[in-house]
Subunit: 424 residues, 2 copies
């Protein structure tokens, strides 16, 4: 029964039933959280053996307790090479999460410029392209630095490349784009080969245009035997002679410990020389003890694969729980559409236009915390007020089931209100 | 026999003897390093028990493996309170070394401004006062951001406060000063109570003037039973209503692991709110697992005292070895003067004017690496070319003895040359 097609009386009756259900949930006093992509406790236990590691000497004989090694231990770079799709020599290891590396890269560009160009801060205004829906923390960095954000629509093949090609070719003040190319946050889509090729072939007016290729979920499959393949951007860029364009990000935040992982940024040889020159003033080097712990743990597990399979086994039933309930509760109502990602950390959920804020507020009223409506758009402004990001990783299956039922209930109620109001 | 007073013939004879010795060292093919303040291996072993720690839950029940806690675990802040001389609520924990926090604080000031004032980057030029000799990495940050550095002379009570008071009161573009107030790098002097009081009472023209109080050696005594006391700047500032002036730095780099420690910055409540607003865009929080390891290790040892005594026992004979040889070889020659620090990591060594570069080059020629001459001055320019920083922490006693003898030899030779040339 598609709500849009129901007669008013029936809608009012349905609303009454659903409101009664709402009051029941309210009385239950739930306290559930599907707001952030935090790994669950069992996922953190996947890497618990790291804590048994008492070594402090790296395979090449370096005492990791002391100062030194600006760009990270060579062995950890080697281990990251395949996942990042770049040679070890192009990798810089630093910080405990890639967010700080992205922030720093933009800070350097603002203050010092990149690629020998003038600092971005010397422009009246610089702009970034933001495929939407996207990752709120990317957008927050742009807001912090006063970088104007331009929404770019996405479909199942990635962002709208026609628009991107046209915009970057025409406007020298467009300096970058945020991409989560695989299992995109929040939509879960993976860029098609053609999209990646078109990124590598971009001809931006700005010599210092940079693609922030935040490959946060590059090996984060839900169905490892049917892993989705993302074309290697760096290889394509090398073919096109555009290897100075991408900054490629990676971290173990969702592989080992979310708050105590290892992050990395990869870039062309020319970019890296410049990046290291600034980094060498900022730090003598990141925590090598944690790098060593990761080297030993990854080697003991034969690399990432078996580790990521354990994560998949923990995440898959969580995604399936949410998706099954969405199917049961909402399919055929026309009240919402959602994605079915084969990896990553999120499900993107679209209510009817004008409902997302109300749904998130109503869920909160019932004790279910969701990512703020609008968070997946620059400036927190979802033009259609319809997108909600669902993060199923952290709650238990039972909690997820309850929280998703609450979400469905609030989505239905909001949809009915919108339809009733529109008819008035 | 003061070289200056020796007749030319005797000087030439001495030169011949010393040159023969030089050739002997050259043939020996030494490979020694007194260039950086790296802890020695035995010092790193002081904290080796940290590696036995398998816990991942903080005393207050937080799973430290997951995301969260922007400003650090409350328990580590409590443990740092006494050493830093500030309330726990004013401490921000982050990064693995204080260098990165200083860099970040200046980066924020350049890009966003501090205390509601306009960004430093909006000035044609901003300036920092630099007590000299000082720490090369402080100066490198200023160079990186194009901040003009003004040398400030130091004596045994600290930097020249008359000049500082006059300069900051007169010039709104002077935005900061670098201080290592206790066991200063490299001179080893500790600021007198009066100096600290005058810092707290500064009346800078710039509302956004900041004192970078890099208290890197605050508990780093060589003679713990005769610990040198530094007056608490923060308390003095609170009395004067100037608590927005200081940024107070601390780290465990020279307490636990040099490359895997915990760093902290403390500041007024108003400054901290601003700092955290920016930091919250940069990071979800530093590595809490390492914070937890430090909490447990410090608690198991009853705080810092017994740990720092072990370091003192390792460092003291090293300092004494260097100082004894300097005494034996150079006292009475007039070829050099040097400091006798009661803590910290360095001995400051002054050759005759115009000799430091030559001495460092000659030492390198003999296989002894020293900190580059000039490194202790802004822009690497020691106006008298006389200061050399000696870092005795890392080599063995035997190596130190050899390296110091080489330093003495080269210092004598350079002095003789200078005296001979002056007489021509």
């Amino acid at each position: 029964m598609v709500y849009q097609n129901l007669p008013r009386t029936q809608l009012l009756e349905l609303k009454k039933e659903l409101t009664a259900e709402y009051e029941k949930y309210k009385a239950a006093g739930l306290k559930l959280d599907m707001s952030r992509g935090r790994p669950g406790k069992a996922q953190l236990d996947v890497a618990i053996d790291m804590l048994d590691d008492k070594s402090c000497v790296s395979p090449s004989g370096l005492d990791c307790r002391n100062y030194g090694i600006l760009d990270g231990l060579p062995e950890i770079k080697e281990l990251f090479t395949e996942a990042m799709g770049v040679p070890a020599a192009n990798i810089f290891i630093g910080e405990n999460a890639s967010l700080a590396l992205m922030y720093t890269a933009i800070s350097f560009a603002m203050t010092f410029g990149v690629g020998g160009c003038k600092p971005w801060s010397k422009y009246d205004k610089v702009k970034f392209l933001c495929p939407v829906p996207g990752y709120d923390r990317h957008f927050a960095i742009c807001e912090e630095f006063g970088i104007e954000m331009i929404n770019i629509a996405m479909d199942s093949t990635g962002p709208d490349m026609d628009t991107i090609e046209k915009l970057v070719a025409a406007d020298e003040t467009i300096k970058g784009i945020w991409c989560v190319p695989k299992y995109s946050n929040p939509s879960g889509i993976t860029y098609s080969d053609e999209t990646v090729r078109r990124f590598a072939a971009l001809k931006p007016a700005a010599k210092d245009f940079r693609i922030f290729w935040d490959n946060a979920y590059c090996i984060h499959e839900l169905y490892p035997d049917n892993a989705v393949k993302l074309l290697n951007l760096y290889d394509e860029c090398v073919k096109n002679g555009t290897e100075d364009m991408p900054y490629i990000l990676f971290s173990t935040s969702k592989i080992t410990f979310a708050g105590g992982g290892i992050a990395a940024i990869a870039m062309s040889t020319a970019n890296l020389a410049e990046f290291k020159r600034h980094m060498s003033v900022r730090t003598i080097g990141a925590d090598k003890m944690n790098q060593l712990r990761h080297i030993n743990f990854l080697k003991a597990n034969g690399g990432f694969d078996s580790i990521m399979r354990k994560h998949a086994d923990l995440l898959r039933p969580r995604f399936e729980t949410v998706l099954n309930i969405l199917d049961e509760e909402l399919t055929g109502t026309g009240a919402a559409v959602w994605t079915r990602p084969a990896g990553g950390y999120f499900i993107s959920f679209d209510t009817l236009p004008g409902c997302a804020k109300k749904v998130v507020a109503d869920c909160r009223d019932l004790g279910v915390t969701l990512t703020s409506a609008g968070a997946t758009y620059p400036y927190g402004r979802d033009p259609k007020d319809c997108n909600i990001r669902i993060a199923p990783s952290s709650p238990s299956i039972e909690e997820l089931a309850q929280a998703t039922k609450v979400l469905c209930l609030c989505t239905k109620l909001a949809a009915i209100d919108v339809i009733l109001n529109a008819a008035e």
